[in-house]
């Protein structure tokens, strides 16, 4: 049994790299996903992941299949959409979901058009679905770098990010720079999606950000605890997903996200904090 769980990683360096990449993504993306869920912006991660496409496409048109340049392009495109959506929301009457929807669809259309100008379907497949079993040193460094930056930024700005989430009106009123924190937060989300897209693809990188976060909400009643649970679920999902993909010979990205999906289903049913069973069969009430 132990061999079944460890042997692929002991034997193949590409499996070890894939595992490390998953762990790094989990560390950065997990806590950010929790903040997105708490801000009721669960679908914004999805929108941003689509927004990355035109940047990656421009990078591809300029430099061919070069991961660093495609990443820089994706990062710029994602940040432009995030900042524009943030500014449109703050300074006009429109709500955030609407401005994100409009801007990411514009970006997506632009990306698809750019890709259609040049490039084969294979390249599109890579951007959309990634190839975690082909993680090289460069992308491993990128993933690790993004994770490190995210953890450091969270450590420094945790109080501001949580308060901006919880009571944005208060942050504005006391002049604590609500907009800056909001943009920093969106910037971190974009960074993690871009770093994740080599490994998991733009579609699946969001999965490792949001699915564990949604599941983790069922296991703790405070933000820190939920974040820890999300990171844990994301890491185990990466590990189990890689094993599944290795032993059953199925696509890696979906295997990882589906594993996270199983954790989500279990959390919905058995979660201590508002799960189905707790809701249907509440424990006896107390005296006071």
């Amino acid at each position: 049994m132990a061999e079944f769980l460890w042997q692929p990683f002991a034997e193949f360096s590409f499996m070890r790299r894939a595992l490390v990449a998953c762990f790094a993504i989990a560390l950065g993306a997990g806590p950010l996903g929790v903040l997105l869920v708490l801000r009721r912006m669960s679908l914004v991660g999805d929108a941003l992941s689509h927004a990355i496409l035109p940047g990656a496409a421009i990078g591809f048109l300029v430099a061919g299949f070069s991961l660093p340049i495609m990443s820089v392009g994706g990062l710029v495109a994602g940040l432009v959409v995030a900042v524009l959506a943030g500014l449109v929301t703050r300074f006009t009457d429109q709500r955030e979901d609407a401005s994100f929807a409009a801007l990411f669809l514009i970006a997506l259309a632009l990306g698809v058009m750019l890709i259609s100008l040049q490039g084969s379907n294979m390249d599109v497949m890579h951007v959309l679905f990634g190839s975690i079993l082909a993680v090289d040193d460069t992308s491993l460094l990128m993933v690790a770098g993004a994770g490190t930056i995210t953890i450091l930024a969270l450590a420094v700005a945790f109080r501001a990010l949580v308060m901006e989430c919880f009571d944005p009106g208060f942050m504005r009123a006391i002049g604590a720079g609500g907009l800056i924190w909001h943009l920093l937060f969106l910037g971190l989300v974009v960074l993690n999606l871009v770093s994740g897209f080599h490994a998991l693809g733009t579609l699946m990188a969001v999965g490792l950000m949001m699915v564990p976060a949604a599941a983790a909400r069922y296991w703790s009643a405070d933000v820190g605890g939920i974040m820890l649970a999300a990171v844990g679920i994301a890491m185990v999902s990466g590990w189990v997903g890689l094993l599944l993909s290795y032993h059953q010979d199925v696509a890696t990205g979906p295997a990882i996200i589906l594993t996270a999906g199983v954790f989500y289903a279990l959390s919905v049913i058995f979660g201590r904090n508002g799960g189905l069973i707790r809701t249907l069969y509440p424990r006896p009430h107390l005296e006071a």
């Binding site: 420094v156 919880f166 009571d167 208060f170 504005r172 009123a173 604590a176 009643a221 405070d222």
Partner: protein, 249 residues
Amino acid sequence: MSHAIQIQDLTVSYNRHPAVHHLSGEFAPGSLTAVVGPNGAGKSTLLKTIAGVLRPAQGHVVRAGIRPRDIAYLPQQAEIDRRFPISILDVVSSGHWHRRGLFRGLRPPDMDRAVEALAAVGLTGFQNRVIGSLSAGQFQRVLFARMLLQDAPVILLDEPFNAIDARTTADLLRVVHRWHGESRTVVAVLHDLEQVRHNFPQTLLMARREIAWGPTDATLSARNLLRARAMAESWDDNAPVCEQGFENG
């Protein structure tokens, strides 16, 4: 600790229709003022403009020597998700922001002050509960406790006692009087005229424009209240451009 807020020919509008119309006057340093008027009279709009949330269409709010952090503003409906997983102590402690900012940790004395603030609003022993377990009235007490820590010289309260029971209201009014005793400038939007007569020395009665502004008993005369009630609530799509605004703007 004394700060005046001057309102100079203030007009605030939504889609060009004024909600506050050519209002002028002063909230004196250390004054305790109730803002009273019918629904749609522009009371909340006035408070939001003083807090800096809304921008005037014309005129000014002069906050001499008052920084944004010097104003504690309790909105009528905070954009707060009451199911957010955060403890009451953490919410109250955010009132320490101006002292601790982003980087400095909260020290034991800060925690003690937060617990004291909770005790002052009648929530002893609640610090470790999550806010989702509180009733609306208890949550309002938490927000008052946070304002105690904010230690702001100017305090703006927008209908702070809505849907709050008599005992909680009495407790929170005690906090308001404590602030008044500390010479803070307090402005509260209220509807209960008896409550205003008993607790607030100054009153601004408004119906977009000022009806009366001064000592509460004189302001809340039957004649003034009648005039306020007669305020046209209509929204005239074809209203002409305001002459007064045209001259000055």
